[in-house]
């Protein structure tokens, strides 16, 4: 199945081998068109206009919320809050729920495989509140062992923040199992899941996961930058203070006191990124039209190929689970004696786009005992030819650096 034909970038660069989808996904034509249509033909502000064009914009905006609710397996649209992205979602939780409910002596737990955004806001929160920040360790298979939760979780643990899929290791954490373990020890502990890396690649059902908050970004799932989603359990969202204050999130404003709007408006202050939200709706419709079966088959096939072909290169080490059952299509690796930047640059010359660096996970790279790694990641459009290009490029790297 050639899914590249849905993505206009390949018309301009037919030979492009884009292997950086975990940084951001390419955009399909229908997403570009939905955004352009709004910007060209009905670019009114939402919710406050009584004229038709504003109603049209409002209904396109609200339609995305409905699609997201369905996408995440919740019936309550009030639990879907639009944000600027994963980063804003996590910061919102830390600043509102966190600053209200975390007390001195409490414990916050995250893991060693987190993106900086799932570490730094918790550091700040811990420092502000006098709580302690603890980390679940990764084992030799790049997984978090079950015993970690038994060791770390206790009655003082107020919040656990964990990524669903690591943007470096590709590890997929079994969230439903982990949440059940955590809640068995401490039923009131709140579980925050960073879904940034997984939502484009496999179905997610927040009810089945049993977590309390789930956040992700639109741009990694074929939508525009500038929009993301925070899902939270209604009773938690209702009990939280507001994050930003301004227009649209109020019910009644007096000189001294304000009554806030109900969910989800309470957390959507000011004019939201309307075009971007509409693009997210288009992206979900697009993914539905392709179907999970096709997406997962294609990505599964290509991930297996990446793993096999990278594994055949001498001196190359993949940092991540070897069992495809425990991982997604994100492969970070190092090559003996070659810096990641040089690898990425040589690959770029052959039209292969990969990422090099610490991928916003410096502490994790410290554990891996490297300063940086090269990362290959797949999207639904990735195909055998892209991987062929990658391998040709890596052979060029070997030729230059190993003279062989």
């Amino acid at each position: 199945m050639n899914l590249k034909r849905y993505f206009p970038i390949y018309k301009k660069y037919p030979k492009l081998a884009y292997l950086d989808s975990s940084a951001t996904a390419l955009k399909p034509q229908v997403v570009v068109e939905a955004m352009t249509d709004y910007l060209s033909h009905y670019s009114a502000n939402i919710h406050r206009g009584l004229y038709q064009m504003s109603e049209q914009a409002s209904s396109a905006y609200d339609e995305t919320r409905k699609l997201i609710a369905e996408f995440l397996g919740t019936k309550d649209e009030g639990e879907i809050v639009f944000t600027r992205g994963t980063t804003e979602g996590i910061n919102l939780i830390a600043r509102t729920w966190g600053e209200t409910y975390i007390k001195p002596g409490d414990e916050i737990v995250t893991t060693q495989m987190e993106h900086h955004v799932n570490i730094v806001p918790w550091q700040v929160l811990a420092n502000k509140t006098g709580a302690k920040l603890r980390f679940a360790k990764i084992n030799d298979h790049y997984l978090i062992s079950n015993d970690q939760w038994e060791q770390l979780i206790n009655k003082k643990t107020k919040l656990v923040a964990i990524t669903h899929e690591s943007n470096v290791l590709g590890t997929i954490n079994p969230i439903a199992e982990i949440t059940a373990k955590i809640k068995a020890i401490n039923p009131t502990c709140v579980v925050v899941v960073d879904g940034a890396q997984i939502v484009a690649h496999q179905p997610v059902n927040v009810v089945e996961l049993g977590c309390d908050f789930y956040v992700f970004s639109g741009h990694k799932m074929y939508a525009s930058t500038g929009v993301g989603v925070l899902w939270g359990k209604r009773e938690l969202l209702e009990a939280m203070p507001t994050f930003m204050q301004g227009g649209a999130m109020i019910r009644e404003v007096g000189w001294q006191e304000t009554v806030y709007a109900p969910l989800p408006d309470k957390f959507e202050a000011g004019t939201m990124p309307i075009a971007e939200v509409i693009s997210l709706g288009a992206a979900i419709r697009f993914m539905k039209s392709i179907g999970w079966k096709t997406i997962q088959e294609q990505e599964g096939k290509i991930s297996a190929l990446v793993q096999k072909r990278l594994g055949e290169i001498d001196g190359l080490k993949i940092f991540g689970p070897s069992d495809l059952a425990n991982r997604g299509g994100v492969f970070s690796f190092a090559m003996e004696g070659v810096h990641a930047h040089d690898i990425a640059q040589i690959l770029d010359e052959t039209g292969v786009c990969v990422r090099a660096g610490h991928h916003c996970a410096m502490p994790l790279h410290g554990l891996l005992k490297v300063d940086s790694s090269t990362r290959v990641s797949v999207g639904m459009y990735s195909d055998e030819k892209d991987i062929e290009g990658l391998i040709v490029g890596l052979q060029q790297v070997k030729k230059i650096f190993y003279h062989g």
Binding site: V338, H339, A340, D342, I346, A356, G357, D371, S372, I400
Partner: protein
């Protein structure tokens, strides 16, 4: 590309003349924020002139080759003159044109040397 990764650069990267440390001398270090690589340069001077120079730290081929070539060049020169050098001169030494992101790698050595004695 074959130009950028020509033999001279790979040779300096794989067999640098100046990797190591000096027991006495003055030093400075700096990180490349893009990749987190840190570089330390130590120089020994007599009468204001550099008599020996070494570097420590990791980096890509471009940054290592650039610092190694720079340290070849600085021997016998006045530190104050070296600190007046520009990035263009580094590019000339490397003999290649660099993209904006690789300029950061190539100029790292020069930036570190400029910090010495400050």
């Amino acid at each position: 590309m074959d130009d950028l990764y020509r033999d001279l650069i790979i040779d300096h990267y794989q067999h640098p003349n100046h990797r190591g440390s000096l027991a006495d001398g003055v030093s400075a270090n700096e990180a490349n924020l893009m990749c987190g690589d840190t570089l330390k340069i130590m120089v020994k001077m007599e009468n204001g002139k550099i008599t020996d120079a070494k570097f420590e730290g990791g980096g890509c081929a471009i940054s290592i080759a650039a610092v190694d070539m720079l340290l070849d060049y600085v021997k016998g020169k006045r530190l104050s003159d070296v600190q007046k050098m520009s990035g263009t001169e580094i590019e000339k030494m490397l003999g290649v044109e660099l993209t904006p992101s690789r300029k950061k790698c190539a100029y790292l050595g020069l930036e570190v040397i400029k910090k010495i004695g400050l």
